[in-house]
């Protein structure tokens, strides 16, 4: 008798556990016309001025349209909501909006939608991670002081002139400033965002071709076509389901099994057979991403008179061609300047600008490094974060290449750091003793974005603390130039200083890669290596 009770209890416990945990089922949402795509969990809440990585950025691109948008093919900044942006002095701008735009909740898109959103993004107490993007606007120092409380709540440089007009005053000349306005941080926001902030974050309302159907944080974001979208680039599919994957290998397996339609990051391990698996449904095209090795210019051992020979020599010791072929299966291209091919020749990309310093030449490398005083201490470490991006493979290959060129097995060793957070901490605390890995994904397709944030004195991403007066002067000149062609030429002149000084060794341009199922067609990647979702057709 006692035995029977036990068995029943045990059985009950299992049943209860299964029933109790089985809630939340019922997936049966219709998939017809809807594209399912892989996604990485965005790091921050989905607000325009708080999203600084690709995963959150691609959602904002679907939910929002701003003053400008980067053409998915050419990368050129084109007016969307802006009717015109006029200036006489490259410093005072008048923005006029097109009429007839609304948010998907019916609210009109007006000058206030922009001005309020920008003021929100810039205000220190809102802790927006993209606040620095508003730093060119007059009054930024008041709303976002380096220390202490904000002294003003709104940017003095922004003035609403009418329902569809506002003016912007910058604190310096910046002729290509309008071209930066396609970036996510500059998107307009409806009043609902300010009134019910938490509710808005759970179900973001924008003015783009899609609206949010449901958002299950950390696992799936379902977006559907907004039928009344007023723009001329409406969705050509019924909607997009973004599913969070922790491992892109699983996403790829799901694609093979027909469980998902689009994978926008083909894992390195699959590159050898991706063509056989997918045939023509595999994309591999240039993106606005460059990888470099940055030197700690705050360290005397790397930045003494004559050390530029050492740095240039190291650059020559790297066999970029072999590494991009063997390790990356040609999904990266050896770099010969500090920008990216997606800019195009008119946008400032210039193949070979780096000169012979970016050409593999072990003999000359050995000679130059010797002239530059040799590698400090005879051996250098190359620091990278080991948690993401399989950096170990190429770092080991790169060190191998340097060691072979110098005929010294200890010249270069990889130095893995456990997490990205720790890696970034060491960089910001200036604790690097040798070159370290750096990657730059452009915010907007301008040559300025590849140079100023990275190499201008004390700029936001100048991790090596490079500082050169001639370089700064040329950048300022280029920014002030009203003629685009002259601006680009001046930026390229400043790049020639980088080629001389080599504060960072350009390694390779990264391609975007994607694979898709035969259920969908018309898939392409934009210059940011993000799929152009609204153009995808369901067969």
């Amino acid at each position: 008798m006692r035995r029977a009770t036990c068995a029943r209890w045990g059985g009950c416990a299992v049943v209860v556990a299964l029933v109790a945990t089985a809630c939340g089922g019922g997936a049966g949402a219709s998939r017809s016309g809807v594209v399912s795509s892989s996604w990485g969990d965005p790091q921050n809440p989905l607000e325009p001025a708080n999203t600084n990585e690709v995963q959150g950025g691609k959602v904002l691109e679907m939910l929002f349209r701003g003053l400008k948008r980067y053409n998915p093919k050419t990368g050129a900044a084109e007016n969307v909501i802006a009717d015109r942006i006029e200036t006489k002095d490259s410093r005072n701008f008048t923005v006029t909006l097109k009429k007839g735009w609304t948010f998907s909740n019916g609210e009109k898109v007006t000058a206030r939608s922009f001005v309020d959103a920008w003021n929100y993004g810039a205000l220190l107490s809102n802790k927006q991670k993209n606040a620095a993007f508003f730093s060119y606007i007059d009054g930024f120092a008041q709303v976002h002081p380096d220390s202490g409380r904000p002294r003003a709540r709104t940017l003095s440089g922004l003035v609403v002139k009418g329902d569809h007009t506002f003016t912007v005053k910058l604190n310096q000349k910046f002729s290509s400033w309008p071209d930066t306005l396609g970036y996510a941080a500059f998107m307009p926001l409806p009043q609902a965002f300010f009134r019910h902030h938490d509710a808005w974050l759970g179900n973001p309302v924008g003015n783009g071709p899609y609206l949010v159907d449901s958002y299950d944080k950390g696992s799936v974001l379902r977006m559907r076509k907004w039928q009344k979208y007023p723009g001329d680039d409406p969705a050509r599919n019924g909607g997009i389901d973004l599913r969070v994957y922790t491992d892109n290998n699983t996403a790829y397996t799901d694609l093979q099994a027909g469980n998902i339609d689009l994978v926008d990051d083909v894992p390195a391990a699959q590159l050898t057979h991706v063509k056989a698996d997918l045939g023509g449904r595999y994309l591999n095209q240039p993106a606005g991403i460059i990888q470099t090795l940055t030197f700690p210019m705050y360290d005397k051992r790397w930045n003494h008179p004559g050390a530029e020979k050492l740095r240039r020599g190291l650059s020559m010791a790297i066999d970029r061609d072999q590494i991009t072929r063997e390790i990356f299966h040609r999904t990266r291209t050896p770099a010969t300047d500090w920008t990216s091919p997606v800019l195009g020749a008119h946008g400032g990309y210039k193949a070979g600008l780096c000169g012979d310093a970016c050409v593999f030449n072990p003999v000359r490398a050995k000679q130059l490094i010797k002239e530059g005083g040799g590698i400090p201490g005879g051996s250098m470490t190359l620091t990278y974060n080991a948690d993401t991006g399989s950096h170990k493979d190429w770092v080991d290959a790169l060190c191998n290449s340097v060691n072979k060129s110098l005929e010294d097995d200890n010249a270069c060793v990889g130095n893995p750091v456990g997490t990205f957070a720790d890696f970034r901490n060491k960089i910001t605390a200036r604790r690097m003793t040798g070159p370290f890995r750096a990657g730059w994904q452009m915010d907007y397709p301008l040559i300025q974005n590849f140079l100023q944030p990275l190499y201008y004195t004390d700029a936001s991403s100048n991790d090596g603390k490079f500082s050169n007066r001639a370089f700064d002067k040329l950048v300022n000149e280029a920014n002030a130039a009203t003629d685009t062609r002259r601006a680009v030429a001046t930026f390229q002149d400043s790049e020639k200083i980088l080629a001389q000084q080599m504060p960072a060794i350009p390694l390779w341009y990264q391609n975007g890669s994607a694979g898709y199922s035969d259920r969908i067609s018309n898939v392409s990647l934009n210059p940011f290596s993000v799929p152009v979702y609204n153009e995808i057709k369901v067969n």
Binding site: Q43, A421, S461
Partner: protein, 307 residues
């Protein structure tokens, strides 16, 4: 028995405090997570300082710990960087992992014990040898290998199961990952049962039962198996905790958004409230499972008494 349970529950309090203390210090020793929130861009100092103040990171470590414990006793485990509260993350991920663990435990109990009994009763014969070799193979294959292999075979080649689990994690989709998760423990359960059965098969009480003329079936299930299960139950009990925590690999392979996913994400982003909160709960699960095992001994062997 009641007093024993209460005493065991009270003993959990210092273990709970001690473990949170250790985890807290280990996680925070990793350093400042704020720099990584800004990606490849250097954080602008004013915003970073504001975030640090909000997360209590600008205080000395002991103050942070006291603040954290104070919050925990109010049922607040803090907030993850994406704006979700950690309790919300727990509510969405623990049921998923619990379901996965229950499936794994059921598989490992049923298959493991049955195989163990069969090979234990036929010690030294072909069946026994085959099972021993098979378990050896299973133990020597790492979970990520068996996981990717089974996923590819069942999911892509034969199309019998979805290679990844939907966000809702329905039971039928969890069978394959449950099997992968159970595999290694299954081998251990088989071997433990086999040894235990083989040993007890010659015991006096088995001989007596057979001499009484009891049917063989009854002798095995009632007398032999029940007495042989104590080491197996001990193993399965400790395994519950291990499976829940160790699901990181399996959950990653099958894209299950459970505890392992949250922990992995938390460690990767140095999201201390997530890591400390989840590990604390896992410690409690472990302790409770052990208590349950100790209580089960008395059920299996009535000679065992608690005071």
């Amino acid at each position: 028995m009641g007093r024993y349970v209460i005493r065991r529950l009270l003993q959990m309090i210092p273990v709970f405090i001690g473990s949170t203390f250790l985890i807290f210090f280990m996680v925070y020793a990793l350093g400042d997570p704020v720099a990584a929130m800004f990606g490849d861009r250097a954080p602008d100092p004013a915003t970073a300082a504001q975030i640090r103040r909000d997360l209590f990171l600008d205080e000395p470590l002991w103050k942070q710990y006291l603040h954290y414990m104070g919050q925990i006793f109010q049922g607040n485990f803090g907030t993850a960087f994406n704006g979700q509260s950690v309790t919300e993350l727990m509510a969405s991920s623990f049921p998923v992992t619990l379901r996965l663990t229950v499936i794994a435990i059921v598989i490992e109990m049923v298959v493991g014990i049955v195989l163990g009994v069969f090979s234990g009763l036929r010690r030294g014969r072909d069946v026994d040898t085959t099972v021993l070799v098979l378990t050896l193979v299973v133990v020597s294959i790492p979970t990520f290998v068996s996981g990717y292999l089974l996923q590819f075979l069942f999911g892509v080649q034969w199309g019998w199961a979805a290679p990844s689990v939907a966000p809702e994690a329905p039971l039928n989709e969890l069978l394959l990952p449950g099997l992968v998760l159970a595999l290694v423990s299954l081998a251990y359960v088989t071997r433990l049962t086999r040894t235990s059965i083989a040993e007890n098969a010659r015991a006096d009480y088995v001989r007596t039962a057979l001499a009484k003329g009891l049917p063989r079936r009854r002798v095995i299930t009632r007398h032999l198996l029940r007495n042989s299960l104590i080491p197996v139950v001990t193993f399965i009990g400790t395994d519950i905790g291990a499976l829940m925590g160790g699901a990181i690999v399996t959950e990653r392979i099958f894209n299950i958004h459970g505890v392992g996913f949250q922990l992995y994400q938390g460690v990767l982003r140095q999201n201390s409230p997530t890591v400390v909160g989840f590990v604390t709960i896992l410690v409690l699960v472990f302790l409770l499972a052990n208590l349950l095992v100790d209580l089960l001994y008395a059920v299996l062997d009535p000679r065992i008494r608690y005071a």
